[in-house]
Every structure is written in structure tokens, then in C-alpha cells.
Symmetry: C2
Subunit: 282 residues, 2 copies
DNA sequence: CTCTTGATGTGAGATTTTGCACAATGGCCG
DNA sequence: CGGCCATTGTGCAAAATCTCACATCAAGAG
């Protein structure tokens, strides 16, 4: 039988697409991935990849083998979860994935509370836009703004938060609404509900800044560049920002908590879940 | 994530029960298995095995992990089959598992025919009593005397053969049936249909030889030791044996061909299957 | 067209892993 | 009770593997 570690490298290469990317996720050198895949080709007697200088493409045989081998990866992740679930006690490291501003503005300020309740838990808090895969254990617990649909997850709605328009107090004073300039997301976020809502309000008025980063919008609005659609939890407590009410129906987004079923009962994970619930109650 | 090859060694150890046995099936030294399992224990942070001097027992955690990891092994075997199935052409090595006497008396004599039809096929013919696992690729094609029940197999009935009583001609001449001495299987084969049939015929008469080996029975019967229940294909063509008819309803056993679904369409496997069908037609 | 960038290929040295040989353990059988 | 035997544990030399560094290559930007 083929070396399972060779299969591991190959499956990762098949998913990542390049030797270098696979090497990064595996934490090894790209030369190692190349050699292990070559070893797998020898042991199976099949040509699995086309080695191009820009990327390595899977051959038809490679696609077939990758499809058959990927259940191995599922099982391997299940082993990792089982190992974590088997560990007793409330100690351990728990990785939380959340939207970046949510991580910094909502979760991080309250982490002290969790720390004092459960001193044995170490937290890894990752603010990232892309959805971390819970199945692949990129995170143990995830906060999402959309209801997660992956199989095998336990999902719970934690609450919701609203958006309003905000600007610097001095800007709102001196600028009549018909002359508002706006700050919005760029094309990568054009489909998000709050951006759709904002565009409807903007109408034919001017957009002076497009960015993919919410913090940048906050900073620009504070500086008096224009009006931005911000979560109320960001804008309402900030003396450098002032809400501007509009006639349109206000928008709100739901916050979902997701955790893999295998980890739901693990004490440290449970503790983190309860902590996150309490974070959004207030 | 844990090293997949460590998992491979651990799963094998879990199935085989001892380091040495696992080492044999993996083709490595027992020290390697021990070290890799230790490495897995370190990486998972769990104690997986109890190291006794006579055997290594799985802990409860070990059993859990083994249960979760064994789907990995299934997938790995599926990869092996997929690799074999992907190879083009009718060349290749095909492993046949069959009852020992069947292999030597029925299949082996006709292998020349297969060889001349398909010169590119190399045959590995394994005569063994225990049922080779097709799922674990211990054989590509198996002949069985019982209908196989494992999942994922393609099964076909090839035919059947009968049993009769045979003895040396001189023995049958000088011995009246009520004084027959018999040659039969030992306890390990007591449940086989032909042995049950033979016992009913024997009644209270004497059994002078019990053995687990059919060839030994043939040799003893030829030598005039007594009467044995033999497959007709063995006894009828042998001038040193003569059939003795009895009133009891004759018994026959079915011969089944089994192959894994994934390999059924592979050209060399197909060729071997057709060859085996033709072997049992005559 | 050239430069930059991110990819793959290749060789040498360092590290890790492996196999071997032998010692130790403990159940089984007479 | 004592020898037997298969199994596990350990240290060292050998072999395989990995990392690192550098060369090469192709696509896209300026």
C-alpha cells in the first residue's frame, strides 16, 4: 500500500493547486511536496500531475485518485476532533474565527471575563473575512453573519445588530443631507446586505471612498470625509461619530455561532460558546 | 494535524493486536511501529495503548481513535483499487485466492491456457483456507465455497461440484461396507457440509484418520487406509481410487467467484474472471 | 521590452527515521 | 516450578528524508 503521508501531501496539493501553497499549509518545503507526490506516482504507477512552471495541474488520473483519497482527509480531521474531544478537563486552546471588526470590537474587549472564569483556556482569536472551515479545523468555533450550511455543524443564532448612517458631528452640522458624500465598500463586498441597503439610500449622491475595510470606513467618517453605514455597536458609543436617521427601513444582520458536532461537548469549547453567547446578550 | 503514516501504523496495530503482527503486515520492524505509535500519542496528547510484555492493549481512548481512524484505512484501500483500475491495458498482476486443493487441482493445471491468451498477465495464485479479504486487497479475485457476504463485492456463482466416497480398489474389494474404516476432517472442519454428510454415512463405524488437509485424505485413501469423502473431480479421474456409491442423497457444494466492484472492469481482472468461469464450465 | 513576482527544479548538508542486534518481560506447557 | 517462546524495549550505525539555498522559468505589470 502507498505511504499514507504521500497521500496526505498529494490530497493537499490537489486542493491547494500549487506545490508552494500545499507546502505552506503542510508546514514543509515545496521540494518535499514535490518529492512525495513523485513517490506516490511511482508507487501507484500513474502520472498524477502535470508539472508546469506556473502551477501543477492534476491529470485525469490525478483527479480520480484525489477524489477517492479526499475521504481519507475527512477521516483524518475526524481523528483530530476525536483526539481533542477525548481530552479531559476544561483546559485547552480554543480557536475562534469571527469577522475582523467583530473580533476586535465585541469579543476582544470582553475576553478578560472569560479568562477569569476559566483560567485554563487559551484563546486564539482570528479575525478574517474568509469563512474558516470548521470541518478542516481551521477554527473550533466560528461567528458568522450568514447561517452556516456546511454539514456536520451545530449552529445557533446568537442575536443581531443593526446598521445606521454615521458621520463626524461637525460634518453633519454643516452639510445638508442632499449634499452628503458617502463612504462604502468596494466591489468585493457589493453583495453584502448593508452595502445594498447603503446604495439604495445614496441614490445619485456621491461616493468619495470605497474600501474593503470597515476600520478604514470608521476612520474616514470620524475624520469628516463623509457618511458611512456602520454597525450601531461601533457608532453609538463613539463621541467622534453621530448617527444620521433616515426614512428607509433600518437593516440588521443576524449573528450565528457554529461549532462542529464532534467538539460541541468538549468542556473548553462549551465554555467558549457560553462566553460568546453572553458577549452578544448585552 | 497528526502524521498520517503514524495513523496508518496505529490503525494496523489496533487491528492486529500486537506490535510484531502489525510490523509484519506493514513490512517494517516492530520498533518502528512502537515508535510511530508513541509519536501519535505525543501529537494527540492521549495515551492510546497499554504496553504489556505479551501484547499491547488499546486504551479506551485508543479504541475511540482507532474507530474514527479506520475509515481512513477504507479510503486508503479504495485509493489502491482506484490506482489499479486506472492503469490501461490488459497487462498486470492479478492475485487469485482459492481453497488449496481447488487451486492445485482445478486452476493450476489450466493456467497455461490463460497464459497463452493473455501473455501480459502475471498470476499470483494463493491457496489458503482462511478467506482472503478482498476489501483489504489481499487478493483481487477469490473463489469461495460459501456465498461471500462482504460489502462492496461483485459475486457470481460459477457452478458446483459433488462429493462421493472413495477408497483404493483393492480395499473396496476385500472390505464389506459394514466394516469400512473412514478418513475424515478434524474438529476444525467439523461444520463443513461434506463432513456433516460423511458423519451421517459413517454412523457407528470407525474413523481411523482425522486430518485438516484434503491432500492427506487423498493419499491415505489411495494407500488403502479406508474410505474418504472426496470431490468427484479428484476421485473420478484417479485410477488408484474407486467410487463407492451410497444410498444417501449425494451432496454438492457451490463455487462462488468474488471480486471487488472497483476492480471488476479492470481488463486483466476481467480476463482472469473469464478464465475462472471457463475453468469451471468443463 | 524589461522587471517583478511567484512558481518549480536541483543539489548538498543536516536531521530524522529506520533496521538490526540483543536484553528483558511474562504467559504457557509440561 | 522451570524452561520455552513470542512479544516488547533499547542503543547504535545506516539509510532515507527534509530543509535550505540557489537556479530556472513563465506570466503579468509598467
Amino acid at each position: 500500500m502507498a505511504d499514507w503521508e504521500d497521500l496526505h501531501h498529494f490530497v493537499t496539493l490537489a486542493r491547494e493547486g500549487t506545490l508552494s501553497a500545499a507546502a505552506r499549509t503542510l508546514g514543509v518545503d515545496h521540494a518535499t511536496v514535490a518529492r512525495r507526490v513523485a513517490a506516490l506516482e511511482t508507487s501507484t504507477g500513474l502520472k498524477l500531475v502535470d508539472r508546469r512552471s506556473r502551477a501543477t495541474l492534476l491529470t485525469d488520473d490525478g483527479k480520480r485518485i484525489a477524489a477517492v483519497a479526499s475521504p481519507m482527509e475527512e477521516a483524518a480531521f475526524a481523528v483530530g476532533r476525536a483526539a481533542q474531544a477525548a481530552k479531559p478537563g476544561v483546559d485547552g486552546e480554543v480557536t475562534i474565527s469571527a469577522p475582523p471588526n467583530f473580533a476586535s470590537s465585541v469579543i476582544a474587549p470582553q475576553l478578560g471575563r472569560l479568562r477569569s472564569q476559566h483560567p485554563g483556556i487559551r484563546i486564539k482569536l482570528i479575525g478574517e473575512k474568509r469563512r474558516a472551515s470548521l470541518g478542516r479545523r481551521e477554527a473550533d468555533v466560528a461567528l458568522r453573519l450568514m447561517r452556516p450550511v456546511e454539514a456536520g455543524l451545530f449552529v445557533r443564532k446568537l442575536g443581531s445588530f443593526g446598521f445606521s448612517l454615521y458621520g463626524a458631528p461637525v460634518y453633519l452640522e454643516k452639510t445638508p443631507p442632499h449634499a452628503f458624500a458617502f463612504i462604502g465598500y468596494d466591489a468585493s463586498m457589493a453583495a453584502s446586505p448593508q452595502e445594498v441597503w447603503l446604495r439604495a439610500i445614496i441614490g445619485k449622491r456621491e461616493v468619495v471612498l470605497r474600501t474593503n475595510d470597515l476600520e478604514t470606513q470608521v476612520a474616514a467618517a470620524r475624520a469628516g470625509l463623509g457618511i458611512a453605514a456602520l454597525p450601531c455597536y461601533l457608532g453609538d458609543g463613539d463621541p467622534r461619530l453621530q448617527r444620521h436617521e433616515v426614512a428607509q427601513k433600518p437593516i440588521s444582520r443576524d449573528v450565528w455561532l457554529a461549532v462542529h458536532r464532534d467538539l460541541r461537548q468538549v468542556p473548553p469549547v462549551r465554555a467558549v460558546m457560553e462566553f460568546l453567547v453572553s458577549c452578544l446578550k448585552s
